[in-house]
């Protein structure tokens, strides 16, 4: 039976509908004669409330609203990777063909090409009993990603018919499954899944592998875990987007879903351009071969901004179910929260803090909870790592979105305005950031990199902390009056800051640094610290070591030693030894 109503009132993206009691919560509807896409977000006594995902200019009361009778869903099929979509999965390249450089309203476009033939390899046979998410076929989606064709999660039964290997479109039926209740279900390359419902899995597993990003301050000091959650808060100009781009480029996930949520149009263009031309350090193929972009720029309709986050995570879950490690970058979750606030305001709901609705924290929690390292239904391991940027108002971390996010994420990479002002990038503050994954990941680091890794890390943080304490004194009396051993702490901390924490995203060998090199860099800095301390114990003033220029030499390692040429670290070790023995020898001469 068709569910239909008429528009009663319009207020921005919120439309109230009368004339039918049949609308269900979160069902997708078509609004007005232009058939704008909307979603039911409230069923009231008199009205049904619909949020519209497109600009509502020109809508009239009395126009028809028709329910599609299914929840707001996305289409999951090969063809997603490499694409760029809006917040409700309309491919922007197809939109461009239909409406030109500016986006029109009321467009109906297929999320993925339904005419393209995919070369499908069948992996199951007639008579096999299958259950939800079991893989029955596969097709190369891009050079890098093998798309696994799965039985939809809610289907199980026996394969009655299956097609041979060959070329099929996403709407072709490739198999028929007879379920226990006697129904026959067609299996296609394509599935439909509602965006607000997490796809099922077979239980969570503890995180135990890091998400390697090639960024020293992250991998070494505040590691991310595959299946973990992280937030990157920072005021404007502190480099949130830059950091997200670096993570999207270099992290060792199989698939990246990049959600530009309420951000700049030029940034999405840049990602698209840059990722198409850059190649993946692991496989050598284009970065777009493992990336899908979701772009709801700040001037696109606000309701679709709210949906874009869910669209993104549903795509991620789909690839996770195939056994891939997926990383999601959401830039920025604050814009999503503001979209919630805007809609909530138009519904005249009672606001909680700063006008945000009271359900802000539960929505944030539900979103981050969809991250995780899981056993999939098809008995593989897959993970979703969520990295959300947060744009706190006025750069003040005490505002509701940052505070609520902090409760649900386990890595917190705080970007600092003062560091950004002095162009220390990435401007991640080493004193206020943290990662709760350090403990869980320690065995991996010790096994795969070096057993001294975590010890070195602790030492590094201790030196930086000591520097912060000393700086309090320096601010009052200057650094000249400090005793030499404390001056050495300041020098070493400077080497750590400039030679290790600072990383140049535009330098070919510094933009991505493998973890093995990160360890060696850390090791050599601590070696220098050790040797310098030895010299001080002979009552030789620190100024003499500084004069040799060895500290600057070590700082410049990040540019001078290629990622492939790690043998060079031995030369630097020799350089330190020589500088130190020279200083000692000189002093012997002076003494005599």
């Amino acid at each position: 039976m068709e569910v239909k109503g008429t528009i009663f009132s319009i207020n921005g993206p919120v439309v109230k509908v009368v004339g039918s009691d049949g609308f269900k919560m979160y069902d997708q509807v078509f609004v007005g004669s232009e058939r704008l896409i909307g979603e039911v977000i409230g069923v009231g006594d008199k009205h049904t409330v619909v949020q519209v995902y497109e600009n509502t200019t020109g809508l009239k009361p009395g126009e028809e609203v028709v329910s599609t009778q299914r929840a707001m869903s996305v289409i999951l099929a090969p063809g997603i990777i490499g694409g760029i979509f809006d917040g409700i999965e309309r491919p922007l390249k197809v939109v461009e063909k239909q409406s030109g450089a500016f986006i029109e309203r009321g467009l109906t476009v297929d999320p993925v090409d339904t005419t393209k033939k995919w070369k499908v390899e069948i992996l199951a046979k007639v008579g096999d009993s299958v259950s939800g998410s079991m893989i029955i076929a596969q097709t190369p989606e891009t050079l890098q990603i093998m798309h696994k064709v799965m039985v939809p999660p809610d289907v199980s039964g026996v394969i009655e018919e299956i097609v041979p290997n060959g070329e099929y479109t996403i709407t072709d039926s490739i198999a028929k499954v007879k379920t226990a209740s006697g129904k026959t279900v067609d299996i296609k390359l394509m599935q439909v899944w509602p965006i607000r419902i997490p796809r099922p899995h077979n239980g969570r597993v503890n995180v135990r592998r890091p998400l390697m990003t090639g960024q020293r301050v992250i991998d070494t000091l505040f590691p991310l875990a595959k299946g973990g959650t992280a937030a990157i808060p920072g005021g404007f100009g502190t480099g949130k987007t830059m950091t997200q781009h670096q993570l999207a480029k270099w992290s060792d996930a199989d698939i990246i879903i990049y959600i530009g949520c309420g951000e700049r149009g030029n940034e999405m263009t840049q990602v698209l351009e840059e990722f198409t031309s850059l190649s993946d350090p692991k496989t050598g193929s284009s970065l777009m071969d493992r990336t899908a972009l979701i772009a709801n720029t700040s001037n696109m309709p606000v309701a679709a901004r709210e949906a874009s986050i869910y669209t993104g995570i549903t795509l991620a879950e789909y690839y996770r179910d195939m056994g891939y490690h997926v990383a999601i970058m959401a830039d920025s979750t604050s814009r999503w929260a503001e979209a919630l606030r805007e809609i909530s305001g138009r519904l005249e709901e009672m606001p909680a803090e700063e006008g945000f609705p009271a359900y802000l924290s539960s929505r944030l929690a539900a979103f981050y909870e969809r991250a995780g390292y899981v056993n999939t239904l098809c008995k593989k391991e897959g993970s979703i790592t969520v990295i959300g940027a947060v744009s706190p108002q006025g750069g003040d971390f005490s505002e509701p979105v940052t505070q609520n996010t902090k409760r649900f994420v386990r890595s917190f990479l705080a970007l600092d305005r003062l560091l950004a002002y002095s162009r220390h990038y990435p401007a991640i503050n080493w004193l206020s950031s943290y990662s709760e994954y350090v403990e869980e990941l320690t065995p991996w680091y010790e096994e795969n990199i070096n057993e001294k890794f975590m010890g070195h890390r602790t030492r590094l943080i201790a030196i930086l902390q000591e520097e912060a304490n000393l700086n309090e004194i320096v601010k009052l009396i200057g650094s000249d009056v400090l005793p030499d051993d404390q001056k050495l702490v300041l020098q070493t901390a400077r080497v750590i800051r400039e030679g290790f924490l600072q990383q140049n995203a535009y330098h070919p060998s510094d933009t991505y640094v493998p973890i093995s090199k990160q360890f060696l860099m850390m090791d050599i800095i601590l070696y220098l610290n050790e040797k310098a301390r030895e010299i001080l114990s002979r009552s030789i003033p620190i100024s003499q070591i500084i004069k040799t220029g060895i500290f600057e030499e070590i700082i410049s390692i990040k540019y001078k030693v290629d990622n492939e040429n790690l043998g060079k670290f031995d030369e630097y070790r020799a350089l330190i030894d020589k500088a130190c023995s020279d200083v000692i020898a000189n002093n012997e001469v002076i003494k005599r």
Binding site: K93, A101, R264, G265, R341
Partner: protein, 461 residues
């Protein structure tokens, strides 16, 4: 459909409510006539079963429940455009006010614009030389960028905007095909006159389109002024392939107008009484800057906003900064030291700079030099605060050098004449002269090869 409705249900601020209305569409334009004669325009901002809330652009003075006749026009707010608009002056709603008669419109365009498809955008890379060292060297303006000036009352932001507009020089395809769209929102008549006079003096007036909503003009109209201006800009840039520089001043007045209307609609306020959709609304203005991959035209925006109480964390500069591609911040302290333009270097930033400078664009050493200047000047601030505690004499030698560098940097690099036009080579060479005040080993941000070329080791004091 030409039904006229007699009378209003209520009038509040710049909003009126019409009852018994039929077949109205959301955001359409309503014509309002009173018994005093003359017609006004308004936009439907909320539609209920049989009522409409209309925001009247020209204000509601003189409207009563009975003396008013309203008519639905059936279309959104549109601006008539043709190439004739160059050199003309319009009011805040796009009507000519220079006494030169009507525009013979080639077409009418919805002023609200439509979002640009990110796929159709061209990522901006070509830099614009403004001739101002602090901008060219440290926060380079890129064609197609939106780079606001964050300023305070009494600071020389207008002078700076004029200097940028008149000195701006671009390279590449149809570089002489440029125009300026000037949009005044709630600024005083003096400011508008100042801009007009300066454009005239510089002989560019026939390439300027002005939209003026002065501080005495209605608040409702202020909401559409930037939209009219940007529609004109889009028309010139994307249909005539021109390079358009849009100056929007003052965004603070615009935001306050938005707040005024929001509160008369009884909306739930978020920070400082501004509506929750301030960000989206700002974005609908700022995001109209850019370039398309289908043509060679561009829109570069320089919005000016006065930070209330010089507070950069106030919602207006804050939300702006999240949307625009950087910002140029002016600082009162510097201005009081007699430095013009008083650009506060550390918080100023151009996000697009990284892809538009360096080899092939400006000069190979530009990125490193800029980076080093920032780092060194940031250190100057630390040394200064130390010196204020222990006195300059007690400082270490290097720190003393930093103080010297800081002073010279402010006096020679940031400061320049109001008509002094430095090209990029002059700017970068000047930077090197200043950096040489510091010992060579302090310049850790500069690649050693570049350092060898511009600051050879034997120069070390």
């Amino acid at each position: 459909m030409n039904i006229e409705y007699l009378g209003l249900k209520s009038v509040s601020g710049s909003l009126i409510v019409i009852e018994g209305i039929k077949d109205a569409s959301f955001e359409e334009i309503v014509e309002i006539k009173t018994d005093e004669g003359g017609s006004r325009m308004g936009k439907i901002i909320e539609l209920g079963g049989d009522y409409a809330v209309v925001q009247v652009y020209e204000g509601t003075r003189g409207l009563s429940k009975t003396n008013t006749v309203t008519r639905l026009t059936g279309r959104p707010m549109e601006l008539g455009v043709s190439k004739e608009i160059l050199g003309r002056i319009f009011d805040g709603a796009g009507r000519p006010i220079d006494g030169l008669g009507k525009i013979f419109a080639e077409k009418y365009i919805d002023v609200n614009g439509k979002p640009m498809n990110p796929v159709s955008r061209e990522y901006p890379r070509n830099y614009i030389q403004t001739g101002i060292s602090s901008i060219d060297g440290l926060a380079t303006l890129i064609r197609g960028q939106k780079l606001p000036i964050f300023t305070g009352n009494g600071l020389p932001h207008d002078e700076l905007a004029v200097q940028i507009a008149t000195q701006a020089k671009i390279e590449g395809a149809n570089r002489d095909n440029f125009a300026i769209v000037f949009c005044a929102m709630g600024v005083s008549g003096d400011v508008a006159d100042y801009f007009r006079k300066k454009f005239q003096e510089n002989g560019v007036l026939e390439r300027v389109v002005m939209f003026l909503n002065l501080s005495s003009d209605p608040v409702g109209e202020r909401i559409i002024t930037p939209r009219c201006a940007l529609t004109a800009a889009e028309y010139l840039a994307f249909e005539h392939n021109m390079h358009i520089l849009v100056i929007l001043t003052d965004m603070t007045s615009y935001a306050e107008a938005l707040r005024e209307i929001s509160s008369s609609q009884n909306e739930i306020p978020s920070r400082k009484g501004f509506p929750g959709y301030l960000y989206s609304d700002f974005a609908s203005i700022y995001e109209r800057a850019g370039m398309l991959n289908t043509g060679s035209g561009s829109i570069t925006q320089i919005p000016i906003l006065t930070m209330p109480n010089d507070d950069i964390t106030h919602p207006i500069p804050d939300l702006t900064g999240y949307i625009t591609e950087g910002q140029v911040v002016l600082e009162r302290n510097l201005y009081q030291k007699g430095i013009y333009p008083p650009v506060s270097v550390l918080p100023s930033l151009s996000r697009l700079m990284k892809d538009g400078i360096g080899e092939g664009f400006t000069r190979e050493d530009h990125p490193d030099v800029a980076n080093q200047l920032f780092a060194a000047y940031s250190n100057v601030q630390e040394v200064r605060s130390l010196a204020s505690v222990i006195g300059e004499d007690e400082l270490a030698d290097t720190d003393k050098k930093y103080l010297e560098f800081g002073r010279a940097f402010e006096r020679e690099f940031i400061s320049q004449g109001r008509d002094e036009n430095r090209d990029i080579d002059q700017t970068i060479d000047l930077a090197w002269n200043l950096l040489k005040i510091l010992p060579r080993e302090e310049l850790s941000r500069i690649d050693s090869k570049i350092l060898d070329k511009y600051y050879p080791a034997e120069n070390t004091p």
